[in-house]
């Protein structure tokens, strides 16, 4: 084929994906409590004796309706697992290296995933005590908690 391949070149493109996430009745109450009262709300299934964070409308085990089964849990908790992100790619929440941790808040039976900022990532260990640091800006999402930090 006699095509001249020097004609070929690379175009940088991008694709924008607008989306809306509706938190729903249960998720909204959770977010509004974080934002306006700096409280963490979960729901408790008395039959299974389990407190779920983030809250959900039905029990994951017995499918009981948990609407209005609200309980408040602590803003401190314990790290049950973590990963250190060491590579950079667009749209990450912060510059690597950073830590994504599973934090089980005091009084909860399930952990939530969030950013953990305790300086050097090698300071992180399972079982460490952490506390929520709330955002100064209004976010209307889980980033009402900006990150977790180590309890000194």
């Amino acid at each position: 084929m006699e095509q001249k391949h020097e004609w070929a070149y690379v175009i940088d493109g991008k694709m924008a994906l607008p989306y809306q996430y509706f938190a729903g009745a249960t998720g909204s109450a959770f977010i509004v409590a974080l934002r306006d009262r700096k409280k963490v709300l979960g729901v408790r299934c008395e039959r299974c004796a389990k407190t779920f964070i983030p809250p959900r409308q039905t029990c994951e085990r017995c499918f009981r309706d948990l609407t209005n089964a609200w309980v408040e849990v602590g803003t401190e908790g314990v790290v049950t697992g973590f990963t250190v992100v060491r590579y950079a790619e667009p749209y990450q929440p912060k510059q690597p290296p950073y830590v994504l941790a599973l934090v089980q808040l005091d009084g909860a039976d399930t952990p939530i995933a969030h950013l953990l900022d305790c300086g050097d990532p090698s300071n992180t260990h399972v079982g460490m005590r952490v506390r929520a640091v709330f955002s100064d800006e209004r976010k209307d999402n889980i980033l009402e908690i900006r990150h977790f930090e180590a309890v000194a």
Partner: protein, 160 residues
């Protein structure tokens, strides 16, 4: 069931635009087509040496004969509207997430000197929508600032 309405509750919505970076290779055929738009303000199609049909946008191999389409010819810059859509509800532009102002007109244009079935799709600048019809004579308008992309053609305009 209670007869009283539940108290109004604030419902939260998270709105975001994710922007996903991508890189495309034009390949040799689209590369030449786009560079001719950018550098020479002309619409170049390639042509099958076997069946003689133009391909626009060009592709390396004739889609009918499966032989290399190596000849290049300029088409247009004028042509006739084969078909059109008047768009009142626009989907988001993948480059920006924004939607175009509506209504706008999208046209398939049979450029002058085209052999075979190779209309070019683009926008038509039509301040008066009632003038838009099949067979309408139109002329390509190139953008002032060109980057080697389809947007180097700003739109087609109606020949009065």
């Amino acid at each position: 069931m209670s007869n009283t309405a539940p108290p109004a509750q604030e419902l939260t919505v998270s709105r975001q635009v994710l922007s996903v970076a991508q890189r495309f290779s034009t390949g040799p055929a689209m590369g030449r087509f786009l560079q001719e738009l950018r550098d020479n303000r002309r619409i170049m199609a390639n042509r099958c040496p076997q069946c003689g049909r133009h391909q626009l946008p060009p592709r390396e191999v004739c889609a009918v004969c499966h032989v290399g389409a190596t000849g290049w010819e300029e088409l247009g810059p004028e042509g006739a509207v084969r078909d059109f859509d008047i768009v009142y509800y626009s989907s988001p532009d993948p480059l920006t997430g924004e939607t175009r102002e509506t209504p706008y007109v999208a046209v398939w244009v049979d450029l002058d000197r085209t052999c075979g079935d190779a209309p070019l799709w683009h926008l038509l600048h039509a301040p008066d929508l009632s003038k838009v019809r099949r067979g309408l004579r139109v002329r390509v308008v190139f953008a002032e600032r060109r980057s080697g992309a389809m947007s180097d053609i700003e739109h087609f305009e109606i020949i009065e």
